[in-house]
Amino acid sequence: MIKKILFSYQNKSQLIIAMIGSFLGFTFLVTSIHYLIRVNEFGEGEEILGNNTMIIQKQINNYSSLKLSKNDFSEREIESIRKEEFTEMLQPILSNNFDVSLQTDSELVPYLRTDVFVQSVDNEFTKIDTNKWKWAPGDEYIPIVLPREFLVMLNTFASAKGIPPISDDLAKSIGFKFTLSSPGKKEMEKVRIVGFTNEVSAILVPSSFMEYGNINFPKDEPAIITQLMLTVKEGRFGDFENYLEKRSLESKENSMIVGKLKSVAGTLFSILIGISVITVFLAGLVLVQYAQLLISRNEYEIRTLLRQGYSPKKIIKSILLYFIKVFAVISGASIIAFSVVKFFIDKLLDKGGIQIDAGFTFLSILAVIFAFGIYTIVNYFNAKRGVLKTL
């Protein structure tokens, strides 16, 4: 009955406009938060290197081929890059200064032996499990991360021999061996693949193994640093790219593109979140204003109810419940609209070759619940103030 008295004879056009505004704000908010999270997640788990992390090196030109220009980094150059605004972390990649070859050590795969180039990077740049990524002399095997091109090459070799190709999982279970050598000295170590990478062209090994090889099987020439591992700050890919161009440096193109795309998309979605928050705020203000208007138009009705013995709490509760239903409709409709929009966007991305997690992100739904909570709290105090004012 209270509901009929307070709400049945109201002009609802202002309410409907505010509801549409809130609905659009909520939908933009949930969509932009969802895709900001998905954009940041994109590429995670597939690669060994951490987010926004890439290897840089000097561009190879004819002069470097003729040894007229250096392609290694001096300490000063490294320090200079480290001080750049876009640099979050930077470390030289250690390369082997000893002879090492890799050979297959299983009946499941054909015998193959080749000289290899190994590198090690600090574990903070990679996503490799630290428990798996350690080695000490005497350990059963050395964990390595294999460039995916190497496995492709191995499979090409296997098919030429009429042997079925090796999957990632099988490759991880079959045996390999490293042979470390220096004049008059040779040592064999068992090797186990713990992961694959598209980002690094050399075999990655733990730094303890690199130190062991460099100390025990040293070459005459001193070790030089030709590559650096660098993590770019979020959203600074533009500066980073300009720097590379200016200093004739290069990075692997694919990780650069992904980083740039993530940077651009992240900025766009952040702007969209900002616009959504403003929309939600403005629509919220209109809803609050509507509630105030409703209370002031119903001043006689509220006062009469109070004089008839209705408690202020009961009247406040009725107003609050009415608006909770309104907010629930807005929130529900925005989540449904988001699901529909998400279905089409995901389909579009999938068609474009970008596979992202199809699930809903918890934070985006939480944002709607949070906005719903804020609306409800503001409305409660608004209703309380309005009802008690009529006493």
Binding site: K4, L306, Q308, G309
Partner: protein
């Protein structure tokens, strides 16, 4: 519940010279079960008196107590309980919901305490000869009919006191007698009292007490 007045003068009436008979500025008590007529000419504060006891107006000097409690100390929730269980009103302006039907207006009040069934409500309407208005919005009833609805609505709750501010101003003698009889029966049933403000007319009723403003 007894009502105690101690030198009460509404602030807007404090500049006026009141007669010796006036209750304003005097000390007296009203005891539960009394049937009181409050007699005054226009502008002497009958509505102010009703509104002050209803907790609507707080602009007075002196003190009013319900039993031992100062009425200015009641919280909004406590006033709601008082208005639901202990004091009922027939306001001069009736305060009905014009868009709601007679049935809805009565149920709105009756639902708070479930004092009567629908058939009992209809019976009361019949006694006041407006039972045919059950489904009619109050806004289209005559003032006399609305007054009778407001009287019945005021009876739809338990109370210690029924405060009526010129409740028969639009009723003829016959309807006034019927309404007064209905009120008296209800008051006797629940052993409560009432205060009826008039312009001097005692409606041929034997009041326990007469007050003047």
């Amino acid at each position: 519940m007894d009502i105690h007045f101690n030198n009460v003068i509404p602030i807007p009436l404090s500049g006026i010279q009141h007669s010796d008979k006036s209750i304003w500025g005097s000390e007296f008590s009203l005891h539960k079960g009394e049937k009181v007529m409050l007699n005054a000419s226009s502008g002497k504060g009958k509505t102010t008196f009703t509104h002050t006891l209803a907790g609507i107006r707080k602009d007075f000097n002196g003190s009013i107590r319900f039993d031992e409690r100062e009425i200015t100390s009641f919280s909004p929730e406590e006033w709601a309980d008082l208005r639901k269980e202990q004091i009922s009103f027939v306001f001069q302006d009736l305060q009905l919901f014009s868009k709601l039907t007679v049935e809805e207006n009565l149920h709105l009040k009756n639902n708070l305490t479930d004092s009567f069934s629908s058939s009992e409500l209809k019976q009361m309407l019949e006694e006041l000869e407006i039972d045919d208005k059950w489904s009619v919005p109050c806004g289209i009833l005559s003032m006399g009919q609305q007054q009778r609805v407001a009287i019945i609505r005021a009876l739809c709750q338990p109370f210690d006191w029924l405060l009526m501010d010129e409740p028969f101003s639009n009723l003829d003698v016959e309807n006034t007698q019927r309404a007064l009889s209905l009120i008296n029966n209800r008051v006797n049933d629940i052993k409560s009292g009432f205060i009826l403000t008039t312009l001097g007319e005692n409606h041929n009723f034997d009041f326990d007490r007469e007050l003047n403003l």
